[in-house]
């Protein structure tokens, strides 16, 4: 524990603790939410738009649902959003980058110019276009963001492969007649996987932020499932008089995104130190 704090620094450790806390909240949602039924979407019309109080710590929404419970349930959607966006993006970006870097030549040129086209869009706009075409919904919004996200991993994977391709052990494998797919999967992928996974883990925060923006625009998961971005949007009609409706989920998004980015900074600093030491 002490070692971890030393490695990440105090801000980094606090950030890690916050991220861990959110993961726990997501897993334990039905058991820790004060009003699990309302968290899942059941209306509670006798307590519409109440300010924060002892029985509703963060107030209630326009259907009288406890906002704290809604936020706790929304943690599930947001974290899964972030994780799946990154996972889908890796699933597309990694093979593209590996192939481009390993084979080089026209394959590289074709794949990377294709990647450039996706990078030419302002990211949110392409995601909005995709999401509008696919229609709102949980999986669709994830696909829409992943479409704008994968090119970064393709570039990163390609850059890693370019370094590895010339390594003696890869040359040796090639000379001893190992097939291309086998070299890529057995010898190159494990070495590129590591830096990419670190990057991907850190991207969960920004990915979740983008997903929140889509659901704010009404292109995310559909109600009654609790979702932070959608809660901020729904609360806008009652803002600023009933400020808590928008402000509480808004703050939550801010806190988790902040935790991810502080953690990212801490890890980057550590990684830089480690590579200098090993060089």
């Amino acid at each position: 524990m002490k070692k971890l704090v030393h490695r990440l620094g105090i801000p980094g450790s606090i950030a890690l603790a916050i991220v861990t806390l959110f993961v726990l909240v997501a897993i334990l949602a039905p058991w820790i939410a004060p009003y699990p039924l309302q968290g899942a979407g059941a209306p509670n019309v006798i307590a519409k738009l109440q300010p924060p109080s002892a029985s509703y710590w963060l107030g209630t929404d326009h259907l009288g649902r406890d906002i704290l419970s809604r936020i706790i349930y929304g943690t599930r959607v947001s974290l899964t959003n972030g994780l799946l966006i990154v996972a889908f993006s890796l699933l597309i970006g990694l093979p593209v980058g590996l192939a481009a870097g390993y084979f080089g030549g026209w394959i590289d040129e074709a794949l990377m110019r294709g990647t450039d086209v996706f990078l030419a869009f302002p990211a949110l706009l392409l995601a909005v276009l995709m999401a509008a075409a696919l229609g709102p919904g949980f999986l669709n919004s994830i696909i829409a963001v992943a479409v704008t996200w994968w090119p970064w991993y393709a570039r990163l994977a390609r850059a890693e492969v370019l370094v590895l391709r010339g390594q003696p052990y890869v040359e040796a494998a090639r000379l001893s007649g190992v097939s291309h797919p086998r070299i890529i999967i057995r010898h190159i992928l494990p070495a590129t996987g590591r830096p990419l996974t670190v990057q991907a883990a850190l991207d969960v925060g920004p990915a979740l932020l983008t997903a929140a923006a889509l659901s704010f625009l009404g292109l995310g998961i559909l109600p009654p499932t609790a979702d932070w971005g959608q809660m901020v949007d729904a609360g806008r009609k009652f803002f600023p008089a009933r400020w808590w409706y928008s402000a509480m989920p808004g703050m939550t998004i801010f806190i988790i995104a902040l935790a991810f980015s502080v953690l990212g900074d801490a890890l980057r600093d550590r990684k830089g130190g480690a590579s200098r030491a090993s060089a």
Binding site: R113, G114, D116, V117, F118, A120, F121, P122, A123, L124, L125, L126, V128, L129, M130, A132, A133, L134, G205, L209, A212, A213, F216, L217, G218, L219, G229, V232, D233, R236, F239, P240, W243, S246, A247, G250, M251, I253, F254, A257, L258, F260, S261, V262, D265
Partner: protein, 340 residues
């Protein structure tokens, strides 16, 4: 010579990217949606109406023919008609694009104006509380959801303090009783051209909050980049010499060190402009800013694909051109860029 080759290569690549973008927008806007004809035919269409719409939209033609039609139309600036309003999209764009560009330009200026001095101050106090506070601020600026920041600014400056307007681009009194004649479409410039300084002040007041929202993230980046460039430069000999001569600290920082640390400014301009174009979708809804972002968000709700496609095309092309210009400017400032 190298420089010229670099510029030509970048221009060629940009042209290629624009073709790719057109294709991708075509696929997403015309092929992915389940039934464009039903949308085109309006609410509760009959089978004949849908069939008629299919023919009007030429949906039965082969895909490559449809793409050719789409690409030629886009290239000639013919974006078609909105499904919802049946208005010419090109005309709508002419009204909305300047509003978004005005916001983007203004917020970029604001980002530089806030970020660069803060970066200088942070570098001068490296490692001390002002620096740490600044670093935290720049991280917080990245993590803040744009739409939430917009609402907080509205709450504080419009609702509580009442010093800035809540939303809109001009006050209703001005818009109704004495509308500004549209010359460039940029309210600030049009007001000066018309010699109406009351309108200028009003337009400026409306611009501040949305621009500040969009400027927060690039200002954070500008601050970080300026800080690290300044720290490097403050160790150079001419700064030591200036100190030895007894020049005042502000003069050393802003007169001798900062001009050498302006490299990142170009990067920030590009980034900020891009961010403003993207963030416009969120910010314009909240501030009721009559620009492309609000236009496209209304189109999303109505599944008005020609409008969504047109806005995506126009904004992406602005973005590609901006990136091209920045790359060229960077190569002109620092010829080493062209060689790498």
């Amino acid at each position: 010579m190298e420089l010229l080759r670099y510029i030509l290569r970048r221009m060629l690549l940009s042209a290629f990217v624009v073709v790719g973008v057109t294709f991708l927008v075509f696929v997403v806007a015309q092929v992915v949606p389940s039934d464009p004809a039903a949308l085109y035919a309006g609410p509760r269409p009959t089978a004949e109406q849908i069939e008629k719409a299919r023919q009007e939209l030429n949906l039965d033609a082969p895909l490559q023919a449809r793409f050719a039609t789409f690409a030629t139309a886009m290239a000639s600036g013919d974006f078609g008609i909105s499904y919802k309003s049946r208005r010419l999209i090109a005309e709508d764009l002419r009204a909305y694009l300047p509003a978004t560009l005005e916001l983007a330009v203004f917020s970029t200026g604001l980002a530089l104006l806030i970020g660069i001095p803060l970066g200088v101050v942070a570098a001068a106090h490296q490692g001390r509380w002002a620096d740490r506070l600044g670093s935290f601020g720049s991280i917080a600026a990245v993590a803040m959801p744009t739409f939430f920041l917009a609402m907080i600014l509205q709450l504080v400056f419009a609702q509580w303090l009442g010093i800035l307007p809540l939303s809109g681009r001009l006050s209703r009194e001005i818009a109704i009783s004495a509308p500004l004649q549209m010359i460039t479409g940029f309210n600030l410039i049009d007001a000066i051209l018309a010699g109406r300084f009351d309108v200028f002040g009003d337009a400026l007041a409306h611009l501040i909050l949305p621009a500040l929202t969009l400027a927060s993230y690039p200002a954070g980046v500008a601050m970080r980049l300026t800080r690290s460039a300044m720290i490097e430069i403050l160790e150079r000999r001419h700064i030591v010499a200036a100190r030895a001569l007894g020049l005042s600290e502000p003069r050393i920082l802003f007169g001798h060190a900062l001009p050498n640390a302006m490299g990142p400014a170009l990067t920030v301009i590009g980034l900020s402009f891009a961010y403003a174009l993207t963030g416009a979708v969120l910010v314009e809804i909240i501030f009721a800013w009559p620009g492309l972002g609000r236009y496209v968000s209304e189109a999303i709700l109505a599944k008005d694909f020609p409008v969504i496609a047109a806005v995506t095309m126009v904004v992406t092309i602005c973005y590609v051109v901006m990136n091209l210009l920045i790359d060229i400017a960077q190569a002109l400032v620092d010829p080493r860029v062209a060689l790498s």
